[in-house]
């Protein structure tokens, strides 16, 4: 059981914002360091391995996207990107480059805090190969090919099953259309977002109490989907 405070590295070129984040996150019990640009962030990360990196996307010199790539090359640390609304393309690129989640500016602190908690809770990748997946009330047994929600068994088609399994493995993480399609249907289908929507719709009908207001499979508009287990 770790009683060290979780380390968060915040990367943003806006000093006003980082002032606020430093104080706010520290008060919440995190160990926070600030980096004003990508280079300094990487330097800091070398000697001070953070458990979470929060980075702005639009920075001069090294962009957030570039930082994501470089970080991913050396670590699986969860990454949350901060971006302005409307920059969907960059967000998708960042997510595909390895970021786990995004928060749109301007954001309320509670929103950011919730994403931070979710990101820190995420299980490390090494557990991804296990035969049993659990997320919230959901349980999947990959060997017997069964899926349950609470105590009630889910009747899923093969593709729905795979989709749910992949979502659960990446619970809390934002998955782009591209990566979802690639993971479940393979490389030739990565542009068929309609296809994906149809399957998501079917899955929602089976697991959501109110499919028109999904709780578990959340739409990230223009970007993809996210599985929320709680």
């Amino acid at each position: 059981m770790e009683n060290r405070k979780p380390r968060i590295l915040v990367v943003d070129d806006e000093p006003q914002l980082t002032r606020v984040l430093l104080r706010s996150l520290t008060t919440k019990g995190y160990d926070v360091r600030i980096a004003g640009d990508g280079d300094f962030a990487l330097q800091t990360f070398q000697d001070w391995p953070a458990e979470l990196v929060i980075t702005d996307l639009a920075m001069p010199n090294m962009s957030g996207l570039e930082l994501c790539r470089r970080l991913r090359a050396i670590s699986q640390v969860p990454i949350i990107v901060l971006s302005v609304r409307g920059e969907e393309k960059t967000k998708v690129e960042a997510l595909d480059a390895g970021a786990d989640d995004y928060v749109t500016k301007p954001f309320g602190m509670n929103e950011l805090l919730a994403r931070i908690r979710a990101a820190l809770r995420r299980k490390p990748a090494s557990e991804a190969d296990s035969r049993i997946l659990v997320a919230g009330d959901f349980r999947i047994d990959l060997e017997s090919h069964t899926a349950t929600q609470g105590d009630h068994e889910l009747r899923l088609t093969p593709k729905e099953f795979e989709l749910l399994a992949h979502l659960m493995r990446n619970a809390g993480k934002v998955l782009t259309h591209h990566s979802l399609l690639g993971a479940v249907w393979g490389g030739d289908y990565t542009e068929q977002t309609e296809y994906l929507r149809v399957f998501i719709g079917q899955l929602r009908k089976k697991i959501e109490p109110d499919p028109s207001k999904p709780r578990f499979i959340l739409t990230e508009p223009w970007i993809g989907y996210r599985f929320n287990a709680e």
Binding site: G86, P106, G108, T193, R197, K213, T219, P221, W222
Partner: protein, 403 residues
């Protein structure tokens, strides 16, 4: 033969004369065996060549020389200039006519060829000039368009930002002073502080939505929306709008009904999602909790899809159904409409702008059974490009003119 074009003139005359002399020299030894006719032909041929190579004037010179030579060396009595013989005249005439006619022809051909070459070089230069001119023109055009955008942007921004900003500033300074205050009596109670902070937060939210709005407005006014059209699936767009509107619809029931086999639509997907978002926002704001907000989509003709958002609130009175779409700048249009329209601000105006930029219409109807409001809009099914603008294709003559 064409290569001779570039030789200097005196050289051509020289060579012409040389030609005649050469022929003379060659034929003199044979003059006993061949008759003068043959010599005449030979001279004629030489003159012909000279005319073709160097034109009329050297050929004329050669003609005269040829005639003299013909007379002197080849017409008996040899080595005399007997002019009397009419053959001379015939010969001379023939030489002259040949010289002139062929000289003319070849001069003309030569000139035409030179002109064509000059034209070609000219064209090449003009081509480059043209390229540059159009570079500059397109830059100028681009700048002109962006000028329009800038103006539209400025216009929008200067108005409505200040109000929320003022509140933010006032609250913040009040709270700061409060922090500095030492007398407990003067300090703000926690709930007062909370209230101020909420003012700040809401103010920031309003500003944020405002920024979103002005960008859209600016783009609409600059005639920009037509550039981003692409195939969009109605369900995806509705899905995105709903996801964005999630916080607003927590206390309402939502129903989505999309007709089967709806065609893809040719729209700026984000913009249309924004329209739907605005309508959902509107619907949830003006209808009581736990009521239904429904979103429908169906095809109404070969080239149009209709999307509607309906609520179960008080509805919108008929006399206001046009006005709600007007952009409210300085808060003029108040009175009875004020309380209803107050919160809408620019949303519906933008929605209208977006819909119309796609060539569609937006209007308000009564909800089911006469209750509530139902806002409907149409968007084009695109097979043909209804408004003539195809992104990424050089089809400039079909491009939509500004605005």
């Amino acid at each position: 033969m064409i290569a001779q074009w570039i030789k200097p003139r005196w050289l051509s005359y020289g060579l012409a004369i040389l030609g005649v002399v050469a022929i003379t020299a060659i034929l003199i030894p044979f003059r006993q065996r061949i008759n003068s006719t043959t010599v005449g032909f030979a001279f004629l041929l030489v003159i012909l060549f000279i005319a073709m190579a160097w034109g009329r004037k050297p050929a004329l010179v050669a003609s005269v020389l040829a005639m003299l030579s013909f007379n002197f060396f080849f017409l008996p009595p040899f080595h005399t200039f007997t002019i009397a013989d009419p053959q001379n005249w015939v010969a001379l005439t023939a030489f002259f006519i040949t010289a002139i006619a062929v000289g003319q022809l070849s001069a003309r051909a030569k000139r035409r060829a030179e002109e064509a070459e000059a034209s070609r070089i000219e064209i090449k230069r003009l081509y480059e000039d043209l390229q540059n001119a159009f570079e500059r023109a397109s830059e100028a055009e681009a700048l002109k368009r962006s000028e329009r955008l800038k103006s539209a942007l400025l216009d929008a921004v200067t108005h409505d930002i200040r109000t929320p900003l003022t509140s933010i500033k006032a609250s913040a300074t009040l709270l700061l002073e409060d922090r500095e205050a030492t007398e407990p009596v003067e300090k703000l109670a926690p709930d007062e502080q909370t209230a101020m902070l909420r003012v700040i937060t809401h103010g920031a939210d309003r500003l944020d939505r405002f920024v979103e709005g002005i960008v859209d407005l600016a783009r609409i006014e600059a005639g920009d929306l037509t550039l981003y059209r692409n195939w969009g699936v109605v369900e995806d767009i509705i899905d995105a709008a709903l996801a964005q509107a999630e916080p607003l619809t927590r206390r309402h029931r939502i129903r989505v009904s999309v007709e089967n086999e709806l065609p893809v639509i040719r729209v700026d997907a984000r913009a249309v999602a924004e329209v739907i978002y605005t309508l959902i926002d509107n619907a949830s704001k003006y209808s009581p909790p736990d009521t239904l907000v429904s979103i429908e989509a169906k095809r109404v003709s070969d080239d149009q899809v209709e999307i509607a958002v309906e609520d179960q609130g008080p509805g919108i009175p008929v006399r206001l159904r046009e006005k709600v779409f007007e952009r409210l700048y300085r808060g003029h249009n108040n009175g009875a409409a004020g309380e209803l329209i107050g919160g809408i601000g620019m949303g519906l105006a933008i929605a209208k702008g977006i819909v119309e930029a796609h060539g569609g219409h937006i209007w308000i109807e009564d909800g089911a059974q006469g209750r509530g409001a139902r806002i409907v809009f149409t968007v084009p099914v695109g097979d043909d490009d209804l408004n003539g603008n195809v992104p990424d294709v050089v089809g400039g003559d079909k491009a939509r003119a500004d605005g």
